[in-house]
């Protein structure tokens, strides 16, 4: 088994890092290339950019950002947001992304997952899944949301994770919208359920507020994605890894 990965995530909009709470109230958090280079120097196992504006007009801004990042960061780079077609996918890979994540467009047209996976190999394709608990369900159910979390789809989350894994996703980036930005910890019930249902690596996202939360998530997931705790300087990547190592997890020095 590979080492558990720590992945700082940078939400970007118009070429800047932003961070919100439950996908709302965005605030500026700096220059993405500088932040990515800083995390690379700290020994982050990977860096993720999610373009949350994701409009066709600023595709060029995103591609330029990826190109500049790839020239400075020699760690894996995952990029997502607004990927709607083979063309969007290939352009990002060509600009220097190692992996590209798709979200809304996969829900709209599931066959896109099969096609992108064939095009560049499943290892280059991450399917991002944003889910929210369905109130009053027992056992708990989660509903897939798209368009940056603004639109419920009626699609059941765990079944959707299984479907995209079967269709050729190389990894799942699983975000709990209930927890995103709250610092209340990952939705562990969700992680346990999805990680027990698919045979591809799962990246846990949404809710990290303490190092203990990372450890909780990595009991199930292969990688832990976090934003606020790193951006705000609360913890560094080496601090997170030292904590995990002490807890018995295999992490890269």
């Amino acid at each position: 088994m590979p080492a558990k990965r720590i992945i700082p995530c940078l939400d970007v909009k118009n070429g800047r890092v932003v961070k919100g709470v439950k996908f709302q109230n965005l605030r500026d958090a700096g220059d993405p290339v500088e932040a990515a280079a800083r995390y690379d120097a700290q020994g982050a196992d990977e860096v993720t950019y999610l373009d949350i504006a994701a409009t066709q007009e600023n595709r060029g801004t995103l591609l330029d950002l990826v190109t500049r990042t790839a020239a400075r960061v020699f760690a894996p780079l995952t990029v997502g947001g607004g990927v709607r077609s083979e063309k969007d996918f290939v352009e990002l890979l060509r600009a220097g992304a190692d992996k590209v994540s798709v979200n809304s467009s996969a829900v709209k047209e599931p066959g896109l997952v099969d096609r992108l996976s064939r095009l560049a190999g499943c290892q280059a394709l991450v399917v991002a899944v944003d889910v929210k608990r369905r109130p009053g369900t027992s056992p708990t159910e989660w509903e897939v949301h798209v368009a940056g979390g603004s639109r419920p789809t009626g699609v059941e989350g765990v079944a959707w994770c299984r479907e995209v894994a079967d269709r050729g996703a190389g990894e799942l980036l699983l975000t709990s919208m209930d927890r995103d930005g709250t610092r209340a910890g990952y939705d562990l019930e969700l992680l346990e359920k999805v990680c027990g249902s698919v045979r591809v690596p799962v990246i846990a996202s949404g809710g990290v507020g303490t190092l203990e939360h990372l450890a909780e998530g990595l009991r199930f997931a292969d990688a832990a994605l976090a934003a606020s705790i790193f951006h705000d300087g609360q913890f560094t990547v080496p601090e997170a890894k030292a904590f995990l190592r002490e807890r018995g997890f295999e992490v890269r020095p």
């Binding site: 088994m1 690379d40 560049a120 290892q123 045979r199």
Partner: protein
Amino acid sequence: MTGLVALVDYGAGNLRSVENALREVGAEVAVTRDPAVVRSAARVVVPGQGSMPECAEAMRKSGVADAVVEAIRGGKPVLGICVGLQILFERGVEAGGARGLGVLPGTIERLPDTVKLPHIGWSRVRATPSCPPLLRPLDGQYLYFAHSYAAPADAQGAALLCDHGRPYCAGLSVGNLTGVQFHPEKSQAVGLALLSRFLAS
């Protein structure tokens, strides 16, 4: 100066990342699909990402496959990365089967389904007794992998082994030919140091 590095462009997805990394360690790089440039270069790097059948096919179509084989047979330092290592073999089982360039004997097999696939992330490698100085410093290091298929642990020239479901060949060395299953261009300082040693080889 270490001379020109021909980075073979046959449409592989990680071309840009490999180019960036080679430039970072001071290489003069020609991104090319021109057999004449491959012939005249001092060193050759073969990137690769995605499926072995498609990469092998794309390489043949681009007309640069013969020049790569010629460079290997002619004693030029050649480095294959990820699928760039896999296509050196005779065959692969991916997507119904693929014919490689056949420089090395054997078959690229799928890793066992008893573990999560693809194998994505940082895994440690260990050197075999015959590991040459170029790869030796990687013994015990974590390197970045992203693949589901691999060369067998007893492949010709196997110099580094990794485990994912079973032991497999993560790096090999046969004379002037070096192949690595991991991505040096994405393995931070440890990977860049390998590229730097390759330039000095």
